[in-house]
């Protein structure tokens, strides 16, 4: 059969530096081998040579099963991908997509099941195995070395690379691939300086340079702007045309329809179906993904109470890189109102939230809560004033993993009566409070004294919510409140937030989940590049408009 793809021709490698090869023939091979052992790399790594024909099944997984304790993440999954196709892996949080893919990439090992590459059964025990078999992965959370340059990152661990000046070799290739695929990146930039899209490009290049025939992308558009997303999709289409097999994980229906040739839908660890994209629709996919309709807790539209609780005026906050992360942001929040903060991650939401919760000092501007200036207040003052904060970073910020559940429940109020009497803590009061909270908020835990880190994600969040909302705070700032939670826990949390707002709390909710924002908000504020581009009443908003605002395509 005809092979309609094009190989990118390789020019003979040339650098300006004298390599050992010229001086002592053969020595470089030995030095290279020695260097590789020394460098902790495998000797038998090689770049896959043969390309598959388009339409041929390149990778096949049958009967994959993986359990973590009692949780079955993958339950008898069959999955395959062909050369030249873009195959979407669709499912909600926790459906098992990432687990499956990590098995394919050698990070996990499946308990049961077989994987075939090019028809032959293989064993993938580590990422290096996967790479040698021609599987490349672009991770959701980039695995890059920040202080190093782009070229150094691409060269890291590249099979067949040189011992001396390894990054020089790849610089030219980077430039060529950059222009061919339209993914611009400068080899000499340092990783901490570049954008998320460029970081992703590094990972893609690493996969391509290692000769990947199958490229897996895990939620690639989560951190990209709409323009970067379009560029990525173009590049992926090009790769597919060249015979690569592309697997991408997503929970965004629009992307599936736009980009993929086939889609496999997972739900609760099982395959619900695998169809050609052109034969299906968004609605059908959603149905497959969610399996019937859940009754979401939906906000009943309410009038604005008119009583302003939070007023933010001209707030500017400096980011970690020395640039302004929040620029001149102003908005008001009324009591009982839920303001959803939408935007692609990394546009200043985190810094805004940190400024409002006392973890970061603003550079200029004013923040007032019920008329009292709190612009530079510390977290304790704010907590005492009735400002609750549900952080995005559950394990690292919201709880102290090694302390018990009861100790964590008083983390933000231990200095107040009745938990504290003078310099000592009242254990009795803490214990009874803990029992109450565990009961009321349905926190599942072996005991009050269990270290908090042993709880499941959903229960940790319930703990955090119990702690923050049990005293019916005036204001709640919630960052990604349901990320990583299963459906039941997520609904629980949302329900609580709604309840609090019904009791008069104002809520600022920063979330990546547009559906969630639409579900709960009264008004939606969109943040892009540090500014609030627009605040739209929920009933007037459409997902398209919000999406465009997020991408910076429209302004007020």
């Amino acid at each position: 059969m005809e092979k309609p793809y094009i190989l990118i021709p390789e020019p003979p490698s040339r650098g300006g530096i004298i390599s050992l090869k010229e001086v002592i023939p053969g020595a470089s091979r030995v030095a290279g081998k020695f260097g590789r052992i020394l460098a902790g790399e495998r000797l038998d790594s090689k770049i896959v040579e043969e390309e598959a024909e388009i339409g041929e099944i390149v990778l096949e997984a049958r009967g994959i099963r993986k359990a973590f304790g009692s949780v079955v993440a993958n339950d008898g999954i069959d999955f395959e991908v062909k050369a030249g196709e873009i195959h979407a892996l669709l499912g909600e949080n926790g459906a098992g997509k990432t687990t499956l893919v990590k098995i394919l990439y050698g990070i996990y090992r499946c308990d049961e099941g077989a994987i075939r590459i090019g028809g032959e059964e293989v064993e993938i025990t580590s990422p290096t195995d996967a790479r040698d078999l021609g599987i490349g992965m672009v991770h959701q959370h980039f695995m890059l070395v920040d202080p190093n340059t782009v070229a150094e990152n691409v060269a890291l661990g590249l099979p067949g690379g040189r011992f001396m000046f390894p990054e020089q070799e790849v610089k030219d290739r980077i430039k060529r691939y950059s222009s061919v695929y339209g993914l611009k990146v400068d080899p000499d930039d340092r990783v901490w300086q570049i954008s998320a899209g460029e970081k992703q490009t590094i990972e893609i290049l690493k996969a391509l340079f290692s000769g990947a025939r199958v490229i897996i992308l895990d939620e690639p558009t989560a951190v990209l702007t709409p323009i970067e997303t379009a560029d990525l999709f173009e590049a992926l289409r090009l790769m597919a045309r060249r015979g690569k097999a592309v697997i991408f994980i997503t929970h965004k229906l629009g992307e599936v329809i736009e980009l993929s040739d086939r889609v496999t839908v997972l739900r609760k660890g099982k395959v619900v179906g695998c169809i050609d994209t052109r034969d299906t629709s968004r609605e059908e996919l959603a149905r497959m993904m969610v399996g019937g309709r859940i009754t979401p807790s939906v906000r009943e539209s309410s009038e604005r109470s008119g009583k302003t609780v939070l007023e933010v005026d001209g707030l500017s906050v400096m980011g970690d890189r020395g640039t302004m992360a929040v620029r001149n942001v102003s908005f008001k929040l009324d009591s009982g109102e839920i303001l959803g903060l939408a935007g692609v991650a990394g546009n200043g939401q985190r810094e805004l939230v940190e400024a409002l919760t006392g973890l970061r000092s603003p550079v200029s501007g004013r923040v007032e809560i019920e008329g009292t200036g709190v612009t530079y207040a510390d977290p304790r003052t704010l907590a005492s004033m009735g400002v609750a904060y549900i952080p995005e970073d559950r394990m690292e910020l919201a709880i102290v993993g090694d302390l018990s559940v009861s100790e964590n429940l008083v983390l933000r109020k231990y200095w107040q009566e009745p938990f504290s009497k003078g310099i000592s803590l009242d254990d009795g009061a803490i214990e009874s409070y803990a029992s109450e909270m565990i009961e009321e908020y349905n926190i599942v835990t072996p005991s009050k004294d269990t270290p908090a880190r042993k709880l499941s994600g959903g229960n940790i969040q319930r703990l955090v919510l119990a702690r923050e909302t049990s005293r019916h705070p005036k204001m709640i700032i919630a960052s990604h409140p349901t990320s990583g939670l299963d459906v039941k826990a997520a609904n629980d949390i949302r329900g609580r937030l709604l309840e609090e707002s019904n009791q008069g709390a104002s809520i600022l909710m920063d979330s990546e989940d547009l559906d969630e924002i639409f579900m709960l908000s009264d008004r939606i504020a969109v943040m892009s590049k540090g500014e609030i581009v627009d605040i739209v009443p929920r009933d007037d908003a459409t997902k398209e408009r919000i999406g465009l605002l997020m991408g910076g395509a429209l302004s007020k």
């Binding site: 049961e112 064993e123 690292e396 100790e407 000592s424 803590l425």
Partner: protein, 363 residues
Amino acid sequence: MRIGSLAEIRFERRRKSLGRKGILITVSAVLIGILLAGLFFSLIGVSPVFAYKRILIGSFGSMSGWREILRKAIPLMMCGAGLAIAFRGLFWNIGAEGQIIAGAVAATWVALSLEQAPSWVLLPSMFGLGFLFGAAWCIIPALLWAKLKVNEVITTLMLNYVVISLATFLVDGPWKGSSQYGYPYTDTFVDSARIPFIQGTRIPFLTLILAPLFCVGLYLLLTRSRAGYEIKVTGYNPKAARYAGMSFTKTLFLIAVISGGLAGIAGVGEVAGVHGKLSYPEDISSGYGFTAIIVAWLARLNPLGVVVSSIFVSGLLVGGDAIRTGGVPAASIDIFMGLILLMLVSTEIFRSYEIKIGGGGAS
């Protein structure tokens, strides 16, 4: 790790936590350390059985041994308790040795300057100033760490050398005693500046009582007080500490005061109780500050546990002296301690992980 292509030795997270059984790990670590030390003894031509017998008899097996054990345990206990607190706050105070000397210097200063004063003035002032000096010597690195993120391991260590040199200078120079024979020390303190011994021993009774009291006090601080809660949170999760509104600087300041101050008091005890004068720092504190690290670690950073571990470690020290007279060099005790500490720290992993020897792959 892989051994061959069949077997693989892995660490797997334990499903259930160990709880009480964790103490088994500590005990076995110490036992392994003792075994290895025994191996070492036989390597250098000393029968391990002989060595251990000598150690045991010289320390726990005799009245004179016990007297020495208690005497050495006092400064170990005080420093160990302070270090337990410091390490819980993730403040690596390696400068306890210097803080002891700082306290000793302070006490000497008071004793030499106020020779006419009565006991009830002298002793409290000595202790008070000793506490202050020790605390001050720890506060400097603590603040540098809190405000400027300067590595505290090095700063506390460096200050050790500084204060030791200063003390040497004082003993050689301005404070050189009028009655000495080639080996410099200050004048003996007047009786009112001394802590009386327990009848027939060289154990100062005051510090013998104070040391365990401090341990109990610090335990209560850690478990019952706000400050203790703050120290724990700061050590376990500094980010959450900020989120909870705790002041990192204040917490660290408190840690420094406690840790340095207690070491300072230990120094006062040595100089006012045991020696009665200030001589070269190596004589005042022969490594108590460093040995206290083992004491704290052995007690798993629990101030109550320090009471027990300090006596145990003190026993090792006394035993080390005992075998020295039996012809085994003094340095072997360092090796002993090093091995035990190494074993303790190497076996930590077994608390949360177990060894699995797995084979085969997926298909």
